[in-house]
Structures are given as structure tokens and as C-alpha cells.
Amino acid sequence: MSFEKFGKMSYVSETKIADFVKYLEKGKIMATRCRRCGQLYFPPRDDCPNDLSTDMKWEELSGRCKLLTYTTAHFAPTGFQEDLPYTLALAHCEEGVNVYARLNKDVNENEIHIGLNLRLTPLRLPNGRITYELKKAQV
């Protein structure tokens, strides 16, 4: 199972955490946790630098997070121009990890503010690709 269908454009095809995409297709956004030291990782990783362990387990994130910072891009690298303008965001998940993703265009620009409650959700893209995005949390 390859990782290359992750994101609008992917630069990485082989990785030990390729199952992340399988879970994503089932609607689950997964982190990894080191069984030895208990550290939670997102983005997920299969190797723990704390104790050099590769004994990791998958753990689902609730998706509940808060906006840490953001920017609306008006210029883009090759392959992303047709999406402009789009908002890139960094959010803090309730489990204590951070996530980098786009903010759904349904969030009005005037309601975007740091601290906004968001929900991290899987997003299907054309051509069988898949990613995740940040949406406004339902009140």
C-alpha cells in the first residue's frame, strides 16, 4: 500500500506509516504512540527518537482542535495554482499534537481568528486522492 495518494500532490510514495492512508479512507485520522515511552506523534511516525523504539501503535485523533495561526496564500507552487486563494493553517489538537492543513473555504475570512474551534476531517480529492482539512467545529 503506497502513500502517494495522500494530498493534492505527493512527493513521498514509500513510508512505513502508509497505513495512515488506509485509515483515512475509512474516515479515521490516526496518530502513533510509542508503546515504550508513551509519546504521541502526529504526523504519525514509526520510529521514536526518545528511546529508538519502533514499537508503535495507531491511535485515532478526536479531530477536535483550535487554530494556532494561519495565512491565506495568493501565490502557489506548481500544481496548486488552480486552488488559489487558499488558507493554510496550523491547529492544536486536544490530544496535544499539532496539525498542518488547509482551512475549508466554508469558513468565512472575517470569522477566522486564532483560537477558533476547528474539526480535523478526512477529505476526498479528485482522481482517488485523499487528504484531511480543518473545518469549523459544529456548535
Partner: protein, 392 residues
């Protein structure tokens, strides 16, 4: 520690020569010719021939090079065979990294005289190729797939800084206004033009809140720094400038790994190391060059280097304290914002500016009696931090 080692440690290392080409949008010459010009400029007035240079370190960001392994090509063109040469890279801070390595070579008594040549010919590849590479500076597995690029990275710091500290778009623009003013006095700057606050605020948005004049531009250019041991330095020049502090650090490549969104941890850490080694405090710095790839980067640098408290960077530029005559003149050569940013050449250009200041050769921008100068050179979005402190 043996007496012998102590003696080695006490030996000082100097910058003896500095050179730079004009920075331009498209230089119209090859990379070897570009480097030759900076090399020749650095040797002017020195009692030194190329044969006496014992090693060279060539610095650039390889994604912009057509030539594979440019070090060999450039060393040959500069007449630096058969002395050893190799390539050093930390993106935008490559030539500061080169200077750190040169310092270590000299301090370890491996070589007495080392040349650090930084260059970038960003016009060497097409705009389409540049666009393609732009997206790959971030974590390619987890962040590039969302369409990120350098301005977006710094824009996220700007947004967080504005939210936490009340920094304004006007304050960001004032960094560019200062840059424009001093660019008129730097014949080697790419953009030599004063810019008004209004022009800055009205410019098109690149990545909100950063607008066109908040961003530096790609450029072609080369720089050369020649370093020597104390004994040799005194024979080569009457005005050696001593390297008294060097600090370097790195932060996470990923945005998700950052613990600080209102400052650059790598710069804070590199600054601490450099101040400690130089036995000086921020108050002792008479003139500084900081990595203003974006206006927010200069404001964060003020805070991260201790020129003001965290949160007060916006106020420092608002009060014009970083102009000549202010508390601490910063980027009075126009900075990256006006000079242009030929990636591999930038650190060397910053060091050149400070060396000229400390030698009293800075012309119309000379800071009277400047004794201690500082260079802050960052690779990536706060990825590689380098701080160098120089003393006359």
C-alpha cells in the same frame, strides 16, 4: 588541558577580506564568472595571492544550480587548485555555515587562510522550475502536499505575532521603508528605491498579512569572505576584523514541530551561544545585519537577539530605533528586502557589510566608532539559525 592546546585556543581568527558582486535580477554571466568577481573584490588591497589561500569552501543552495558539485568548478576558475575545496549548504545561511567551518579549520591549525565563496544564480532556472522547487522547502511528506511555500511560512509567524503582541501591518511596512531609504546608499543593492508606507500597505497580498513589499526577491549574486589565523592576518592586512562569537542551531523542519510561533528558536539559541562566546551582551552591539527575508523576520530578529524585549519589536521600528542614530542600527545596507536574496551569497554579503563598518569603510552609512557588529543569518523558515559576532 595541555599548554599546547591552550595556546591554540587562544589564537584569534580574523576576517581579512570581504567582497561582493552587485546583486541583480539577472546577472548575464556564468556562476564561475560571478564568483570570480566577488573573489577579486575580496582580495583588493590585501597582501595575499590566491596561491596562499589554503582551502576554499563554496556555498549555495543546490536546487538552483545546474552544475553538479559546483565547488570543483569554482575552485578551478579562481585558481585554487590543488588546495582542497568542498561544498557547504544550509539554504539561505549557507555562507555563514561556510564561515563557521573556515573558522574551525583555522582554529584547529589545519589551515591558516581559507576563502568562503557564496553564490546563487537564481535566474539560471526558469520561473516554472522555481515555482516547482518553492513547494519543496517544507516537510515534503506532511506539509508540501497542502501547497505551502516560504512566504506562507513566515506569514504564519506574522499572524501569530500580530495576535499575541499587537504588532501591526504598518509596523511591518516600516521595516521596508527603512530598507528602501538605505538601499539608495548601497550601489550593490538590486532595488535602489525609497518606498512609502502607503505603497507598502497598498501592495498586492502574497500570503496574508504579507504583501509584496514585505517580501525579499530572488536575485543573482556572489560574496567572498577570506579568513586567516592571527599571525597571518596581521601580515595580510592592517585592519583585521576578529571573529569573536559564533552560534548555530536548528529547529524542526515541520511547522507542526514548532513550540514558538512568535519567534525563531534557532535564532534565540544561536544568539545565546554567540554572545556567550564573544563575552558581550546585546547592548554592546553597535551595528547589526539581520535576516530580513520578510519584514516580520526583522521584527522577530530584534526580539530574538535581545535588541528589545519579546513583544516590543514592532515598537522598536515604530520609534526608528534601528535607523542610524537609534539604539541599534540594523540592516543599514538595505537588507535582503532591498539588496535581493541570492541564497548562497547572502550570509557573506551580511558579513561584508559588518566588516566594512568595523573597518570604518562603510561610507555614507558609517556608524561612528562601531566596534562590535553582529550578523544574524537564517536558513529556511527559522530552520537553520546562525549568529556571528565580529569585533575590530
Amino acid at each position: 588541558m595541555s599548554y599546547h592546546v591552550q595556546e591554540k585556543c587562544a589564537m584569534r581568527v580574523a576576517v581579512v577580506g570581504v567582497g561582493q558582486t552587485p546583486f541583480s535580477r539577472s546577472c548575464g554571466v556564468s556562476i564561475r564568472e560571478l564568483c570570480f568577481e566577488a573573489f577579486k573584490d575580496s582580495l583588493e588591497g590585501l597582501n595575499l595571492t590566491p596561491k596562499e589561500i589554503e582551502a576554499s569552501i563554496i556555498c549555495s543552495a543546490p536546487e538552483y544550480d545546474r552544475q553538479r558539485s559546483p565547488a570543483g568548478l569554482i575552485a578551478e576558475y579562481l585558481g585554487l587548485n590543488p588546495q582542497p575545496t568542498f561544498y557547504a549548504e544550509s539554504i539561505c545561511s549557507s555562507s555563514s555555515t561556510g564561515v563557521k567551518v573556515a573558522y574551525s579549520f583555522i582554529k584547529s591549525c589545519l589551515h591558516d587562510v581559507v576563502a568562503v565563496i557564496g553564490f546563487q544564480k537564481m535566474s539560471e532556472i526558469s520561473s516554472a522550475e522555481v515555482q516547482e522547487r518553492m513547494g519543496r522547502g517544507a516537510d515534503i511528506q506532511w506539509e508540501s502536499p497542502f501547497g505551502t511555500m516560504m512566504p506562507a511560512g513566515y506569514a504564519m509567524f506574522a499572524r501569530a505575532h500580530m495576535q499575541k503582541y499587537g504588532t501591526t501591518e504598518e509596523q511591518l511596512a516600516k521595516v521596508k521603508v527603512k530598507s528602501g531609504k538605505y538601499s539608495l546608499l548601497n550601489p550593490k543593492a538590486m532595488y535602489r528605491r525609497a518606498v512609502t508606507l502607503e505603497e507598502c500597505l497598498k501592495a498586492r497580498v502574497i500570503a496574508s498579512p504579507l504583501k509584496m513589499f514585505d517580501c525579499c526577491a530572488n536575485a543573482d549574486g556572489a560574496s567572498c569572505i577570506i579568513l586567516a589565523s592571527e599571525e597571518k592576518a596581521k601580515k595580510i592586512t592592517d585592519t583585521p576584523v576578529w571573529v569573536v562569537g559564533i552560534g548555530a542551531a536548528c529547529d524542526t523542519q515541520s511547522t507542526t514541530g514548532r513550540t514558538n510561533l512568535t519567534g525563531l528558536n534557532c535564532a534565540i539559541e544561536a544568539g545565546k551561544q554567540a554572545y556567550k562566546m564573544a563575552q558581550v551582551t546585546p547592548k554592546d552591539v553597535d551595528v547589526a545585519e539581520v535576516h530580513d527575508c520578510f519584514t516580520i523576520a526583522e521584527i522577530m530578529a530584534y526580539e530574538n537577539l535581545g535588541f528589545c524585549k519579546p513583544s516590543e519589536g514592532g515598537k522598536l521600528i515604530e520609534e526608528s530605533q534601528t535607523y542610524i542614530g537609534g539604539k541599534i542600527p540594523v540592516n543599514i545596507d538595505g537588507g535582503l528586502l532591498s539588496k535581493g536574496h541570492p541564497i548562497g551569497a547572502t550570509g557573506g554579503s551580511q558579513i561584508r557589510t559588518i566588516v566594512l563598518q568595523l573597518q570604518g569603510r562603510a561610507g555614507k552609512t558609517q556608524v561612528d566608532g562601531a566596534e562590535v557588529g553582529l550578523v544574524h543569518n537564517i536558513g529556511g523558515v527559522g530552520l537553520y539559525g546562525n549568529v556571528t559576532i565580529l569585533r575590530r
